[in-house]
Symmetry: C2
Subunit: 407 residues, 2 copies
């Protein structure tokens, strides 16, 4: 029998598959010990200090499966990042409810929360097993090949750019699409995943490289001159040589969350500034921009089956590690084979993941700084999952001009 | 044997299914007369005056099927709207190439182009049969129950709002999503199609009603007070009591296309202005906005099978009407039965469709002016097609608080 109750919470931005991890953990825990009581905290650590718990023990498996297939965080999420006082409050509640195991599904901030909670538990000699379950569309977790949530968001971005590229080919001009990703360019880079020869995005600007407006304009101009059009993928996190985000330079009221992060999403300012700059300097008539925003992480019906299975397994493994391994940690995904694509799940140290940020390796970024490499395409394509829609062009031959038409 | 060659072109904004109409017409024409030569004009009427034709006659059926399943306009599109001189130039080219039938797939501007071309042909006693094939995500064509392109775009908007509503429920606050639709609110209204009780969008602002900022703020405040969050769907075309678009009041450089239409898409200004207003006046901390932009009409893999079949059929019928009916016209869709959903295809007069705009009937708009009616939901739901993703919530009971937690 497992000692104490199991408590599960979800933190940070929701994804298409964070509920898979929740359901994987609940089902695995129930199989492991049918007498175990399983609580869920509403809205992450905030729900713990508020004692806002639901009892998941008797949730019907059929409904759990339906929840697993639903995007968003079914327990609710939070942006709170506990400090010491917050953690002491967490303990008071965990003790009162007899919680023996704590699973927190989230990104590197959530991993850091688990690290603090774990350390405080040890200091107070409270018998708690705490495990972090990885989740982030940004794909910026250290010690992971990739994180659950990224593959589905990458699929969305890839399908979005495949579509806007077809649209731009039909009505030529310049198109700028702004993609989420504060420090890591993985999601922006995924814009290239379905790209064919001369298809867009023709230029990709990542936060791993310094953004230079003059070079940007010269590159857009060159592509437009060659193809009569240009599709650009830009990360919301692009910055100048001082490290200042291009987005924050343009927004009057900078908003910061509890982690000190500047609010970059939920505004079209960066896209509007970039398209305005192109119009002003390059005298190209049709220039359009979109900010993909929250659709990237929430769109109902765009999910990678690879991601679904891995997120489910990450939740299951968290339960196994919590009950069988004598230390706290963070579930981590390693790619064990490239072809066929194979992964394994390990337990990393919390301080190897918590509060740290992984960025794109140099091997994934083209020499130009404004494109990806074939190595990145080999990395991202197996993650997108099955059933990707195809696209095709007409092959019809041109008809001879009889009147010497203009083009 | 059919007299002269068949010429097909695509105009206006691409959609998820405009290539279905193209392929439907090409295949139907080939079946009708295997000796018929079928040309496609690249980039709409612009391609005609430029003599930029491709010969579709021998395009492989397998490739045509692949093109049909691809979003965007495979022939390329245009925003050009021919005047008399432009039309005279069109005739010169049509005569030179021996075109006997002209099919133009597009919206109400394209229908008006066909009307002008048709009238000029009659004046010049040139034997041309000209048929307009309906297409628009705005769904603003007169004499149609709905237009091909709308169902797939409606599905995208419905899935997007279902997703952002789940996201907003997980991280509560106010969310504003701006949807395409200059004069007609059909696409914005589709945001409600998958909505359950107390789910978002909780408020819907349509161009059919005057937008009043004070009332908007009061309504957002009331929903937020009741549910702790609020999701809002807004049409890009909302306007004040003078008819001035709220978007254009906020954009410094107003851009107009060849039709005199103000450029409303491809900028995040309206969303940013509305979220800024909410932050300033309601002191709500988490306020986010997105502009759905070009993803609504181009996203690869979000398509209604109802829309696919109807767009294909509209193209097929255009060929039948062109060869069997002794007048020019516009293919139009009538809903013949509500349950089960059934449609028929007729041939409308060009001047009943061309250059005219249909808006939402009053019966589809709630008394409040900021929501839809059940009649609209009955109208839109059969259009969304099969295989809509489901969503589910946890049913777990709350756990008794032991320490009198804060919430």
């Amino acid at each position: 029998m497992v000692r104490g109750k199991l408590l599960i919470a979800q933190g940070g931005g929701p994804t298409a598959v964070i509920n898979q991890s929740l359901v994987g953990a609940v089902l695995a825990a129930g199989e492991r010990d049918p007498t175990l009581r399983i609580y869920g905290a509403r809205h992450g650590v905030r729900g713990i200090i508020d004692e806002d718990f639901v009892d998941l023990t008797d949730e019907a498996p059929e409904n759990l499966e339906a929840v697993a297939a639903t995007p968003g965080a079914a327990l609710g999420s939070t942006r709170d990042k506990p400090d010491l006082a917050y953690c002491q409050e967490i303990f008071r509640v965990l003790k009162a409810h007899g919680i023996g195991t704590f699973l927190y599904i989230g990104g590197n901030d959530s991993a850091d929360t688990v690290r603090i909670v774990s350390e405080e538990a040890r200091k107070e000699e409270y018998a708690l097993r705490a495990v972090h379950v990885p989740k982030t569309i940004d794909n910026d977790l250290m010690a992971n090949d990739h994180a659950p949530g990224y593959p589905s968001a990458a699929r969305f971005v890839a399908c979005a750019f495949a579509g806007v590229d077809l649209d731009n080919a039909a009505l030529p001009g310049v198109y700028v699409g702004v993609v989420m990703g504060r420090h890591a360019g993985f999601l922006t880079a995924a814009a290239t995943a379905l790209r064919g020869a001369d298809e867009g995005p023709h230029l990709v600007y990542l936060p791993e490289r310094t953004f230079d407006t003059d070079r940007f304009l010269a590159e857009v101009k060159a592509v437009h001159a060659r193809l009569g059009r240009c599709v650009v993928a830009v990360s919301e996190g692009i910055h100048d040589e001082t490290g200042a985000a291009i987005a924050t330079k343009l927004v009057k009221h900078v908003e910061r969350d509890a982690h000190g992060n500047v609010q970059l999403s939920g505004t079209g300012a960066l896209s509007d500034a970039l398209t305005g700059t192109i119009k002003d300097h390059l005298k190209i008539k049709r220039v359009r921009g979109d900010t993909f925003g929250y659709l990237q992480r929430s769109f109902l019906g765009c999910v990678s089956d690879v991601d679904q299975r891995e997120a489910r397994e990450a939740g299951r493994r968290a339960v196994r590690f919590a009950f069988d391994v004598e230390r706290d940690g963070s579930v981590a995904i390693t790619r064990t084979e490239v072809k066929p694509y194979t992964v394994s799940f390990g337990l990393e140290r919390l301080d190897a993941v918590g509060g740290k940020t992984r960025v794109m390796p140099d091997s994934f970024i083209a020499e130009s700084g404004s494109d990806v490499t074939p190595a990145f395409l080999d990395y991202v394509r197996p993650l997108l999952g099955a059933g990707l829609p195809a696209k095709a062009a007409l092959r019809a031959p041109a008809v001879e001009k009889l009147l010497g038409g203009a083009s």
